[in-house]
């Protein structure tokens, strides 16, 4: 175990997997200078420009060429820089990467990891702040991962790189500096599809992911002072998501809240809320509750941007209403 940042944890994951498997390579703009957030720092020196490939500003081809390179047996790590720019490569992601295995009757696989740094970050405004994980969860053929802790960013990124199907890998830009204990083990893997019980509690199950896990933990801390026990589940993988853990928790707490940074309307919280409503209505003692962003583009001005951020206090207030405390 070492205490390192979310960014260093990812760097470790990539370096270890590149050492382990010669077929793994990374491509994107500015990777040779460490990537836009430093998350590829030093890799060029170790692996050379063929495997840490600087590309033109050609998102569609970064993605499409990766599909081709994956089909013939390499394992590309695709850096999209900001999740927003992946919107320049959607055909390649959704019509090609996600469907090739199925459409070709299982003849080929598309092992690629599509890194999409996401979320609100320092007044980045409407085109550099989006959280679009719900889109990818809706697309057959894609796995969707959104780690919160540094340890998970190591273990899940490594598992994603070893996965034979395309993985949308969502790192939160506000998390790069987050410190945490991370196993040094080069075989430290976190399984896809398994949630993490971040905190136990008896009164309310709060399901969340990515940066909101930290906010939820703070909320749970505050709520505990008011006598409300919030159980926080860090979903980690959005598709497939860990229904088992969520259902077990809801069976215990009899209440569900889902919190995410993304727009609430059509967000992935709706899927969780709907699934629980379908299957666990009989145990619920309070209406399910979602907290997501209003359906508004993200503003530049800090006070307006902040308005779209969910705070621990808001969560506690909602939890208090929901639990009747």
């Amino acid at each position: 175990m070492s205490t390192i940042s979310y960014q260093e944890a990812a760097l470790q994951a990539v370096a270890e997997e590149m050492r382990r498997d010669r077929r793994v390579w990374a491509l994107g703009e500015d990777l040779g200078r460490g990537g836009v957030f430093g998350q590829y720092g030093g890799l060029l020196e170790e692996f050379g420009p063929e495997r840490i490939a600087d590309t033109p500003i050609s998102e569609a081809t970064i993605m499409g060429a990766s599909v081709g390179a994956a089909l013939v047996g390499t394992r590309p790590i695709v850096e999209m820089r900001f999740a927003d720019f992946a919107l320049c490569a959607v055909d390649e992601m959704v019509n090609q990467a996600a469907k090739a295995r199925f459409m070709f009757g299982g003849q080929a696989r598309v092992p690629m990891v599509i890194r999409q740094p996401s979320g609100m970050w320092r007044s980045s405004a409407a085109q550099h702040s989006q959280s679009l994980e719900a889109w990818y969860a809706h697309i057959p053929g894609l796995i969707v991962v959104a780690p919160y802790t540094p340890a998970d960013n190591k273990g899940l990124l490594k598992t994603a790189i070893r996965c034979d199907d395309p993985v949308i890998y969502i790192e939160h830009k506000d998390n790069w500096a987050l410190q945490g204990e991370v196993p040094d083990d080069a075989d430290y893997l976190v399984p896809l599809g398994a949630a993490r019980l971040a905190r136990t509690g008896d009164d309310l199950t709060l399901v969340t992911w990515s940066k909101m896990v930290g906010v939820a933990e703070q909320a749970a801390e505050l709520a505990a002072e008011q006598g409300i026990g919030i159980e926080v589940i860090d979903l980690r993988t959005l598709w497939p998501w860990d229904q088992e853990m969520v259902f077990a928790s809801v069976a215990k707490t009899k209440r569900l809240m889902v919190v995410h940074e993304a727009v609430q309307a059509g967000g992935f919280g709706a899927e969780i809320a709907a699934t629980v409503a379908e299957h666990m209505a009989h145990v619920l003692t309070a209406p399910i509750c979602r907290m997501g962003a209003p359906r508004a583009p993200i503003s530049y001005a800090k006070p307006l941007e902040d308005l779209l951020r969910i705070t621990p206090e808001q969560i506690v207030a909602t939890a208090a209403r929901q639990t009747g405390v």
Partner: protein, 337 residues
Amino acid sequence: MPNNNAHPKHNIDRDRLVDLYRTMRRIRAFEEAAEKASLSGQVGGAVHLSIGQEAVAAGVCANLRKTDQITTTHRGHGHCIAKGTDPGAMMLELFGKEGGTCGGKGGSMHIADFKVGMLGANGVVAAGIPIAVGAAHGAKLLGEDRVVVCFFGDGAINRGPFMEGLNWAAVFKLPVLFVCEHNGFASTTHSDAVTAGPGANARAESLGVEAFTVDGNDVAAVDSMVGDLIPRIRGGSGPKFLSAHTYRLKGHTSVDPAHYRDQEYAAAQWEQDPLRRATAELRRLGLSKEQLASIDNEADAEMAVVTDAAEAAAPPALEQAFADIQDIGAPVWREQS
């Protein structure tokens, strides 16, 4: 500047031309059968015929190794057959049957046959370009001695991935041959009307990809030109571009009567049918009418057999609808009422 637009002098060997002719004839016979099956409703989805364009497929692929790879488009039957895909499996695919190249899950627009290096047709115009470039990038990374050929149409050169893909191939010096089949149409639109500038080759050269032109209805010319280019690409000289001028003798899909084109001009183009031209050349080289007819009959017979087989074949097992999606998180098959 080298004169890339001259037709290479070709002095083709008779046996080689016979082989090329046979490939073209098999493609033609396959597509005629597919057309019939589409019009009768036995084959679903859209079927795009390459009738009139067979010389490009045959002439290019005759110069490839089995380990070389290709990507193609919605109009890709010819490329598949020329690259070595079994027409039986292709016809099963068109009929949506078990044993099809993709188990019946892809259909005409998504035929793939990885074991012969056929990396997939594509339903999205130009989408095969970055994929081909990536396959070549993969070969380079893995140190594998392969060339990738990327087929696309004159309509595709107006999509962004065309430009991005060529630039990429040139930047990374990848072993790709880009083959633009200039058949005059982008669906029902004359491609000229929506394409500015001097043409595909100028675009390629502007992106650092050396470009060549060939009469795409002259199979010997295509063969000779590509026979020259492939070893250079294999030798590491970087990507090349080939414009093959041809004509789409049929409509955009099997059900398109193509009323939008000059009917006289279209009819006259049958004179340039690559099969007809190859026939004339073969006759000149001494092949008898009977020898040619036997090739034709053999091709027709082969495709009659595969069509009958496809008709008779079983549909895919229903659970295939949920197979090969992803290893985790895919729906679970349950027998339904």
